[in-house]
């Protein structure tokens, strides 16, 4: 179904960013605009997912140049879902930023760049063109790079150099892959590519190209052994920025992998093995990395890596059930990881440190806040029936069904390590008696903040925690949605037909 309004989530973020630039120095106006516009975008995203679920896939062709000649934008259930999740996380972080980001940063374009980043994410999810996807990736890289460096602290700069170098490397590999693909089939439209690549006779070249795409997106999603940039950089910027990164940046890589490896390159046996091993080792590297960290933000960073492994494992199994699991986990993970980084920010504001060794006593001092923070922490672990649990059912069952015991073992080991890491974190940060920490002059503590700012920090955590609870306890709805998406990932005909019109019978 053709519908030009599906690019509204991109447009509204773009509009917000530009509008914010007109109020460059007025920090309060900026904050108000950011929150209001995030709400508006959330509304648009809800509308988008609703119409897509009701009426099927919506498509629009930029400049009305019919596919595959122009650039296609497409809202299928997966991309609309991703847009919705982006808007949810975006709204939460926008509010959180109001409370936690220091004014100096706001005066240097924090909010406009933040909305540019969200625009880039929405664009990446909604585009149906592989080169256009690359361009959205550029937006994501440059705006995240600026956000990491914003403030120019030494640690930030160090982290950002590693971040940007490896991500540019990923882009270069991605671009090379696109060039080779274009050389092979002469098209950039993903639906068109799906048909043309399937018809290509030289499978070897197709496989080599697939590897380039895998490595390019693999760096983005931080899989082993391409993950180094993530633990090197995520703990350096202010918590609000880590929150949006932790929630969404790697997931756009996972999204790209899901899209490209179901639509364009259907994995052969080698690819399946490769993805499976990479997934398994990613789970292991991430989780053991988390085990030994002292900085809570680093713990969460490593856990991001580990849990990306789960999602890739679902892709590696390549069954409908496993993909349903991956989609379910994606939903859970975006919400919970964003929330956890905000939690780390809140802890920092209360105690003035991220170090587990020095933290402590939160449960005694802030019992209600602690119980609130327990929700994302234990959701992440996947204590049943919380949200992290359900996807594992799909994966373990798929693993048994296709006799991939290796992945089942890795997933179980990962779950156990996560459980242990988070329980330890709980014991150290919340249970242990805290040291009397010297007051730092550079920290504006939680109790020094105005009530409005305090609310602005706590409210988004409540908001995302409620969503997490809903995902866990109302799993049935989320599973229905994931099932629709999982089915469409395995059977891409509706996607292709939505873009190119009904497929000729003669073509396979």
């Amino acid at each position: 179904m053709s519908n030009p309004y599906i690019i509204l989530p991109i447009i509204s973020q773009l509009f917000t960013a530009i509008l914010l630039m007109f109020f460059w120095t007025q920090k309060n106006t900026q904050k108000a605009i950011s929150v209001i516009m995030s709400l508006v975008t959330l509304g648009i995203s809800v509308w988008l997912l609703t119409i897509v679920l009701k009426n099927g896939i919506h498509v629009t062709q930029a400049g009305s140049w019919e596919a595959p000649f122009g650039i296609t934008f497409i809202a299928d259930p997966l991309s609309s879902l991703m847009v919705l999740l982006t808007s949810l996380a975006g709204l939460a972080v926008s509010i959180f930023s109001v409370g936690s980001v220091r004014n100096a940063r706001v005066r240097f374009g924090y909010f406009p760049i933040f909305h540019f980043l969200l625009m880039g994410l929405n664009g990446a999810f909604l585009t149906g063109d592989i080169f256009n996807l690359y361009v959205w990736f550029e937006i994501i890289i440059i705006s995240s790079f600026v956000l990491i460096t914003l403030g120019g602290e030494k640690a930030q700069i160090e982290g950002s150099i590693k971040y940007v170098t490896m991500n540019l490397l990923a882009s270069a590999i991605f671009l090379t892959a696109i060039a080779i693909l274009y050389g092979l089939v002469g098209s950039l439209n993903m639906a068109d590519l799906s048909i043309k690549v399937a018809n290509l006779e030289n499978r070897r070249l197709v496989n080599v190209t697939a590897i380039l795409f895998f490595v390019g997106f693999g760096i983005k999603s931080a899989v082993f052994p391409l993950h180094f940039w993530l633990p090197a950089s995520y703990h350096t910027p202010p918590p609000a920025i880590s929150a949006i990164f932790g929630g969404l940046l790697t997931k756009v890589g996972v999204y790209a992998l899901l899209r490209v490896f179901t639509l364009i390159f259907v994995p052969d046996e080698f690819m399946i093995n490769l993805i499976s091993w990479v997934a398994g080792l990613t789970i292991l590297t991430g989780c053991i990395g988390a085990l030994i960290q002292n900085n809570i933000r680093k713990v969460f960073s490593y856990l991001i890596v580990g849990h990306i492994g789960y999602m890739i494992a679902g892709l590696g199994m390549f069954t409908e059930a496993a993909l349903i699991g991956t989609v379910f986990y994606l939903i859970h993970d975006i919400i919970v990881k964003t929330n956890l980084f905000m939690v780390s920010g809140l802890i920092f504001k209360i105690k003035g440190t991220f170090s587990m060794r020095n933290l402590g006593g939160l449960y005694k001092e802030y019992p209600k806040l602690s119980l609130l923070m327990a929700i994302p922490i234990f959701s992440l672990v996947g204590i049943p029936p919380l949200s992290g649990f359900w996807a594992k059912l799909f994966w373990v069952e798929s693993g048994f069904a296709i006799e991939n015991f290796m992945l089942v073992a890795f997933i179980i080991a990962g779950s156990f390590l996560t459980l242990f890491v988070m329980a330890k974190l709980w014991a150290e940060v919340f249970w242990k008696d805290g040291d009397k920490l010297p007051k730092k002059i550079n920290v504006k503590y939680f109790w020094e903040l105005k009530p409005l700012k305090r609310t602005a920090m706590v409210f988004p955590i409540v908001f995302l925690s409620l969503i997490s609870l809903y995902i866990g306890l109302g799993a049935d709805h989320v599973i229905q949605l994931s099932t629709i998406i999982g089915k469409q990932l395995m059977d891409t005909t509706p996607y292709i037909e939505a873009v190119l019109g009904p497929i000729n019978e003669s073509q396979p």
């Binding site: 773009l14 930029a62 400049g63 122009g70 650039i71 220091r102 100096a104 940063r105 240097f108 760049i113 625009m119 080169f131 361009v135 440059i142 460096t149 403030g151 120019g152 170098t165 490896m166 080779i180 050389g183 092979l184 002469g186 098209s187 070897r204 070249l205 590897i211 380039l212 052994p225 180094f228 940039w229 633990p231 090197a232 490769l274 590297t285 053991i288 030994i292 920092f348 449960y363 234990f378 204590i383 059912l393 373990v396 069952e397 048994f400 179980i412 779950s415 242990f420 329980a423 014991a427 249970w431 008696d433 730092k440 002059i441 920290v443 504006k444 049935d476 599973i479 229905q480 099932t483």
Partner: protein, 768 residues
């Protein structure tokens, strides 16, 4: 039914809000919940006694076939009564035990949560729901063990307990999913009909292993038993409720529940007999050497759990009947002893058994409860324990070839258990009262009535077994055996070998009690074996694992950007090389390519020379200049292939880049050569290999027939439809205008970034 299971969660959810109001004496009101539930479940007794089972279904996640399917039969009923019955007493006891504690509301919250989870566990017919409740019991236990969260020992024990039970829980999850996968059903009732299929399935051994891991970790079987003594760090009501009467029996429940599904198979029986047997003996011997009352009780609990596993492993009708009875026997006397220990601890401030004696003189009712419990534990007639012990011997004696070995093991275990029971239940109360305890007084009735009720029941059931025989025990055995058994509990079976064995047990135990006096010296001797105990071994393994994790992580995440890039490029090169060269003939048809002209050759030569200069020069300026030359050469190549606009673009960009570079270089410190030759060679090799692979790939692609559909469309329609004469421009601003627009935004963002990098200097008070 759903409400009865979930009510505890609701209560727990309300407590953080209303908790402050019920701090004082009102807290006893909370006990109403378990009492009501107890009465509710009692009402099922007549029906269940008649052989009926009740089924309740509430939809939850029907997509996955995961629903609240509650199935109430004899086995579930026994457990629900234990959970709510002992739960009621523990709730009442706590209101006095932790009177005035700041976090009393939290404590009740966790307890209520636990009670609900445990009810859900024993009532679920759906194995996934069962697992969900299983994990929730582990989590509530984590919070309860760590309740005194200021103490490091408490925190460590709770982590250890969660680590072990959580570890086993995940195995159980895998086992349950596998069972579901093999049979296509998550319902235990349906699984019972598919025993044949399951037993013959190639995954049967795997299923057994997974289920066993779950059950053994939860029920503290050797070699996973060591979390349980640690768990005694929890307040005594918790030890009573979770770690002796109910939660640790979840593993037993699981094994009993799955006996009709997985049981009656050689692997099942042998494994359970061995593990159960080892556990019961090992722990019983350990219990003898303890001084701490709770330590004694912890080890004797482990031993009793071992006995239960052992009995389920025997798998005969006798053995399963014995197990059904022993579950109840043990729950009654062990809960009593724990509650009594709590009182002693509460009043005297010590749990060291060598310090305690003669307390009867100051707290007689407590003493009576304890002594009755010790008698039941010892299996002295006419207690209920006597009945249980008889049945155990009955079961071992009739177990074919191994009867003698098994019976001896059982007798030895029981002798040690008897000793442990006397130590905990009798020793503190008889003999001379030390002077320092003379001022003690009886605690609140809320504390001593519950143990008296439990201990009393232990005797009443022994004297009048018929009151629980057919209403309670028979349905339990029926559920485990999946048939209707025919037996009657009775105190007196006539003169028999069993009676002789009972006498030997009692005699042996009493003898031991009079010879062996608990002391530091004995404890010290026992702890000498600590380094080879499973606990030390497993903890050592975790330490090794942790240091390996540290090593691996620091090697991987070494902080040097260059190694990261090397890792990424190596990974990519290896994959590419493997895929490009693997088994298939590699051909690049040079004939298809156009001839190389002289101009091109010259330009290429210039580029090659410039590259060498860029790489090997020691002056930054030369390197930049050489790179500029490479850029211009590319412009020339664009020109040769008639792309003047590209050439123009490239030309301006290169000029600009060189100028900017020179400006920046001016401010940089002197050039230093920091890398050694070895690493330079390594990097050079990698660069050459990677570059070579990509070139090869490009050449291969050029061999492929070119698809011109899209570029032809652009060429045809640029003027007619898009009204532009320059196709490239039309592509950029119209056909693919969206790309260009987004790229412009990229530049704007970059500009903001540069601006903030240059201008934004955080003041030191703003850096956070």
């Amino acid at each position: 039914m759903l409400l009865s299971v979930l009510s505890g969660f609701l209560l727990a959810a309300c407590l953080p809000v209303i908790g402050k109001q019920i701090k004082g004496n009102l807290s006893i009101l909370l006990s109403a919940l378990p009492v009501i539930l107890f009465i509710y479940f009692l009402s099922f007794i007549p029906g269940v006694a008649n052989g009926e089972t009740y089924h309740f279904t509430y939809n939850w996640v029907p997509q996955l076939g995961i629903n609240f399917d509650f199935h109430l039969d004899g086995l579930s009923l026994l457990f629900t009564l234990l959970i709510t019955g002992i739960g009621s007493l523990v709730f009442i006891y706590t209101s006095s035990y932790l009177k005035g504690h700041v976090y009393l509301d939290r404590f009740y919250g966790y307890l209520a949560m636990f009670m609900s989870s445990m009810l859900g566990l024993v009532l679920s017919d759906n194995i996934i729901t069962l697992f969900i409740f299983w994990e929730l019991t582990s989590i509530s236990s984590f919070f309860l063990i760590g309740f005194n969260n200021d103490s490091e020992a408490s925190r460590k024990s709770s982590l250890l307990a969660l680590g072990i039970t959580g570890f086993g829980g995940l195995f159980l999850l895998a086992g349950m999913i596998l069972l579901g996968y093999v049979t296509g059903s998550y319902s235990i009732v349906e699984l019972m009909g598919q025993t044949e299929l399951i037993h013959n399935h190639p995954y049967f051994v795997l299923i057994l292993f997974l289920v066993f891991m779950g059950a053994f970790t939860k029920s503290a079987q050797f070699p996973f038993h060591f979390w349980l003594p640690g768990a005694m760090k929890a307040p005594t009501p918790v030890s009573t409720y979770l770690h002796s009467a109910t939660m640790v029996k979840a593993g037993i429940y699981l094994l009993a529940r799955f006996t009709p599904v997985l049981g009656n198979h050689e692997y099942w029986n042998t494994t359970l007999i061995i593990i159960g047997g080892v556990t019961m003996l090992y722990a019983a011997i350990h219990a003898v050497f303890r001084l701490d009352l709770k330590g004694i009780l912890a080890y004797s609990t482990i031993s009793a759990l071992g006995v239960l596993v052992f009995l389920i492993g025997l798998g005969t009708d006798d053995a399963l009947l014995a197990a059904s009875v022993f579950i109840l026997v043990h729950a009654l006397y062990k809960a009593t002893l724990f509650l009594v220990t709590g009182i002693i601890d509460h009043e005297t401030g010590t749990r060291d058994v060598s310090q305690l004696s003669g307390l009867n003189k100051v707290m007689l009712p407590v003493g009576i409860a304890a002594i009755l419990a010790a008698i039941s534990n010892a299996g002295i007639p006419p207690s209920f324990g006597f009945l249980g012990k008889d049945l155990i011997y009955e079961a071992t004696l009739h177990y074919g070839d191994w009867a003698i070995v098994l019976t001896v093991a059982a007798v030895l275990t029981n002798i040690c258990l008897l000793f442990a029971g006397f130590l905990a239940g009798i020793k503190p109360f008889i003999g001379k009262l030390p002077q320092k305890y003379e001022k003690l007084h009886l605690p609140s009735p809320l504390m001593y009535i519950p143990p008296m009720i439990l201990a009393g029941l232990g005797i009443v059931f022994g004297v009048l077994p018929m009151i629980i025989d057919s209403p309670l025990i028979k349905p339990v055995a029926a559920a485990i055996l999946n048939t209707s058994p025919d037996f009657h509990l009775a105190l007196w079976h006539g003169w028999s070998v069993v009676l002789l064995l009972s006498t030997i047990t009692i005699g042996g135990g009493l003898g031991l009690y009079f010879i062996l006096k608990p002391s530091e010296g004995l404890l010290a001797k026992a702890t000498r074996f600590e380094p080879i105990s499973p606990m030390s071994i497993i903890l050592r393994c975790t330490r090794i694992f942790e240091s390996t994790a540290k090593g691996v992580t620091y090697v991987l995440q070494n902080g040097y950007l260059r190694y990261y890039v090397i890792a990424i490029l190596t990974f990519l090169s290896v994959l590419l090389a493997y895929k490009i060269f693997k088994g298939i003939d590699l051909y690049v048809n040079f004939g298809k390519l156009t001839e190389i002209t002289l101009y091109e050759a010259i330009v290429l030569a210039i580029m090659a020379v410039s590259i060498v200069f860029t790489v090997f020069t020691r002056s930054r300026l030369v390197a930049v200049a050489a790179m500029g030359i490479i850029g211009y050469s590319i412009c020339l190549i664009f020109l040769f292939y008639s792309a003047p606009d590209l050439a123009m673009t490239q030309f301006s960009i290169d000029t600009l880049t060189v100028i900017l570079f020179v400006l920046v270089l001016y401010n940089l410190p002197k050039y230093l050569k920091l890398s050694d030759t070895g690493s330079r060679v390594r990097d050079g090799m990698l660069a050459l290999i990677f570059g070579g692979l990509i070139s090869l790939l490009t050449l291969e692609v050029l061999n492929e027939p070119l698809e011109r559909e899209i570029s032809a469309y652009y060429a045809e329609n640029a003027y007619t439809l898009a009204k532009g004469k320059n196709v490239v421009n039309v592509i950029l601003v119209d056909f693919r205008g969206a790309d260009t627009m987004v790229e412009i935004i990229v530049l704007s963002i970059a500009a903001i970034g540069v601006f903030s990098l240059l201008k934004l200097r955080l003041k030191s008070i703003e850096k956070e």
